[in-house]
């Protein structure tokens, strides 16, 4: 099993990034790692770009991922995948939700949402796994599980077994949402190689 790693979560305020990073942190703890996770609250949450840094290993000091060292980027929106390019290295895996959320300048018609921007990542030999997390969430009958579907997709790149994640969902998610979230996790995990 990989002995340490850095997972960066990025997206737009309100997309459920905190829950996704929280599930992942608990899974890494259950796998026996030390874990630190960093978030930003406050003004940054109002529809702006948001990020969460998760680091695991035998003993973790810094709560922040260094540029050039994110092993996995879990991006909940296309632009927010490419924005974090300086954090990536040539062996990084990027799991990206194909949703587009227009930044204000684009919505106002002052800027263009760049087309095919994920090609910028593949052009740099970075592995990109694009999934339609909403379609996955819809397939299990609950749109609000898109973030857990993303965790499922990401879990393919971690040594932690999916059973550990399912146990974490069992332990942390409210009872009425448990089953649908487990389904979303499994469907997200399967979506990568579908």
């Amino acid at each position: 099993m990989k002995q340490s790693g850095n997972i960066l979560f990025s997206g737009v305020g309100g997309q459920g990034i905190l829950l996704a990073s929280e599930l992942t942190a608990h899974a890494q703890l259950a796998a026996g790692f030390d874990v630190k996770k960093s978030e930003v609250h406050g003004m940054a949450q109002r529809g702006g770009s948001v990020e969460a840094h998760l680091r695991y290993g035998e003993k973790i000091y810094s709560p922040l991922i260094e540029p050039g060292t994110a092993d996995i980027l879990v991006a909940f929106e296309i632009l927010e995948a490419v924005r974090y390019l300086p954090y990536l290295h040539k062996d990084s895996a990027v799991v990206v939700n194909t949703q587009k959320i227009l930044p204000p300048s684009v919505a106002l018609g002052k800027a263009i949402y760049p087309e095919n921007i994920l090609d910028e990542l593949t052009a740099r030999q970075i592995k990109v796994v694009a999934i339609d997390a909403f379609a996955v969430a819809e397939s299990v009958g609950e749109l609000r599980t898109a973030n857990v579907a993303m965790v499922g997709a990401m879990s393919n790149f971690l040594a932690v077994s999916p059973e550990v994640f399912l146990q974490v969902i069992e332990n942390t998610v409210k009872e009425q949402f448990r089953e649908v979230n487990k389904k979303a996790f499994a469907a997200g995990r399967a979506a990568v190689y579908a």
């Binding site: 978030e39 930003v40 109002r46 000091y61 922040l64 260094e66 204000p104």
Partner: protein
């Protein structure tokens, strides 16, 4: 590492600090919300045996804690860095009275200004107020240091500052559980020579302060939180707080002097460490606080000559500063449209700022809250913002400077919580001194920016229990305001008319713009209508787009595309509502002149 659920917890720094305060036996806690400190009080309030409250501002909060500690109870005041400016008055004199029960001031700095208007380094307050200051490096240490801080406070008879930063407050890590310590019951005890700070007593206490700091300096030499971590190599680091992690990350084998108590400094320990290495580097965030004192001690070191004095650090910055040759090539960032924060879809503030954006030549004196985002385009309706409550006072100052020429052109805008924090005295001053500036109170029934804390006007305490709700209209009238008008900002046209009239008036008027924050749980639950665009009717006037609602977007069209859609050739594009994002406020429908925005039935 085995994460043992029986003995360990996965907590944010703020949750860990609340736990530490509880374990230390804290009985009374008071604070005002402020990122990144806010979650401490919310968490602490839920512990058995603790009274916690939201105070209207940090000065009030600290004074409440001082009073509680005078009974022998352990007490806590929490605040963000700028909050300590507000609480500085009691802080400096509480340093003289000292304590009965332990008193800790939990101060959260925000290097990088993730959610702040400045990035002052509040370690300087410890120096200026002559108080011990502890600085943890992660959530686990933060919890333990709370317990140490209370012990030190009582041992040295002094308030103690615990300084954290954003990367403690909002970092999660593994924390060990402990138990709450048993403390004697609070009592009334009169000790006027110690607690009544008039000159005769204060001069005596002034000497006690120096004696205590002398003792603290001695204690610092053996405090377990100050420690030398031996290593190999000729280069040694002195560091504290979060930057300690970056040093350990980048130079895991180097000798390190880790300071848990940053003021007063363990001078002998520092000299011993400095003598043991050839090159000494101080790694600290923001000001050269440790470095300056080292230099005053005559110790040569690197510090801010290589480490930035602005923004937060990270391991990359430390690596680059100390060992630039070890940095490999990185992917360059791409130019992408930025994604700044924005007022939410359905935000009541939008209707008000839309009205202000339509008024020409009016200077909007702004304040601190979600509504500061009214500054951003397309609304661009805020012209100044300095600190909590300053909107009202600055507007008054402008009115006095401008005299007749500013009449009808000056307006202050501040939120309900900000008004109660420090706007009331400013309004009193403006009335008393005959200002003509208008004041708009954006009353969204909560303290929204920091995550919806209750306040004296919300009618609920920190625990959600019922409390007397301040009547803002009555208060303004009691202060002497003759014109008090209440508007619903979702009624865009009415609001615009009222703004025009009231701002133009030669008398001071208060406009209360009242509608609940859309993110309040009861608002989220409420069934709301949804609006949609009749694309056939859209003329591309872009009036709705100019409101800057995140649910409305503009699609540009070429003349051919316009005609293909049945629009006039000249039409440059069309606006459309994303129904999933619409919060049903109806502001856009109110400004549309072409019947292109329609309400769908409630769902």
């Amino acid at each position: 590492m085995v994460f043992d659920k029986e003995t360990m917890l996965w907590l944010s720094g703020n949750e860990a600090i609340a736990l530490g305060a509880w374990e230390a036996g804290v009985k009374v806690a008071s604070g005002y919300p402020g990122t990144p400190s806010t979650e401490i009080m919310g968490n602490l309030a839920r512990y058995e045996g603790v009274y916690a409250e939201w105070a209207p501002n940090e000065k009030v909060g600290l004074e409440v804690a001082i009073g509680a500690c005078f009974t022998g109870a352990r007490a806590l005041a929490t605040m963000k860095h700028v909050g300590l400016n507000v609480a500085a008055d009691p802080l400096f004199t509480a340093a003289y009275t000292g304590v009965r029960g332990g008193l800790v001031i939990l101060n959260a700095d925000d290097p990088q200004m993730h959610s702040s208007q400045n990035e002052q380094d509040n370690r300087n307050y410890a120096f200026a107020a002559k108080l011990p200051l502890l600085e943890p490096s992660d959530p686990a240490e933060a919890k333990e240091m709370m317990i140490r801080a209370y012990a030190l406070s009582e041992q040295l008879d002094t308030p103690v500052i615990v300084r954290i930063t954003t990367r403690i407050a909002h970092v999660k890590g593994v924390v060990k559980k402990g138990t709450r310590c048993e403390l004697p019951e609070p009592t009334i005890e009169k000790m006027p020579a110690k607690l009544v700070m008039l000159p005769g007593n204060a001069r005596v206490r002034r000497q006690a302060v120096e004696k205590r700091m002398e003792e603290a300096r001695r204690l610092a030499e053996t405090l377990p939180e100050n420690r030398i971590e031996p290593g190999s190599g000729t280069r040694g680091f002195i560091t504290s707080g979060v930057p300690y992690n970056y040093v350990k990350e980048v130079f895991p084998h180097a000798p390190v002097l880790k300071l848990g108590m940053v003021w007063p400094l363990p001078e002998q320990m520092i000299r011993t460490f400095a003598a043991s290495v050839e090159e000494l580097i101080v790694v600290e965030e923001l000001d050269p606080f440790i470095e300056t004192h080292l230099k005053a001690m005559g110790i040569a070191c690197h510090g801010k000559d290589i480490i930035p004095n602005q923004g937060e650090l990270n391991s990359f910055i430390v690596r680059k500063a100390v060992d630039p040759d070890s940095i490999g090539a990185l992917f360059e960032p791409l130019p992408l449209p930025m994604r700044p924060p924005n007022m939410c879809a359905g935000c009541p503030h939008r209707g008000l700022f839309y009205g202000l954006s339509r008024l020409k030549d009016v200077f909007v004196s702004g304040d601190i809250g979600c509504y500061t985002l009214g500054f951003l385009p397309p609304l661009s309706a805020m012209d100044a913002c300095v600190c909590m409550g300053a909107s009202v006072t600055m507007a008054h100052g402008m009115s006095k400077a401008l005299g007749k020429s500013g009449e009808g052109k000056i307006v202050a805008v501040l939120g309900d919580s900000t008004f109660m924090h420090s706007g009331i005295t400013g309004l009193l001053n403006a009335v008393y001194n005959n200002s003509y500036a208008s004041v708009i109170i954006l009353d969204n029934r909560t303290t929204a920016m920091t995550g919806h804390q209750d306040n004296p006007a919300s009618g609920r305490t920190i625990l959600g229990t019922e409390a007397p709700a301040l009547d803002l209209e009555q208060l303004c009238r009691a202060l002497g305001v003759k014109r008090v008008v209440v508007v619903n900002p979702h009624e865009v046209e009415v609001t615009r008319k009222v703004l025009k009239e009231e701002i133009a008036s030669p008398d001071l008027s208060v406009i209360i713009s009242r509608a609940p924050c859309v993110l309040l749980p009861e608002e989220v639950r409420r069934k709301k209508p949804v609006y949609f665009t009749n694309l056939d009717n859209c003329t591309g006037c872009s009036l709705c787009v100019q409101m800057g609602c995140p649910a409305i977007s503009w699609t540009p069209l070429t003349p051919e595309e316009a005609m293909a859609r049945g629009y006039r050739e000249k039409q440059k594009g069309f606006a459309q509502i994303a129904e999933v994002q619409c919060a049903g406020c109806g502001q856009c429908a109110a400004v549309c002149k072409f019947d292109a925005i329609t309400r769908r039935e409630e769902q």
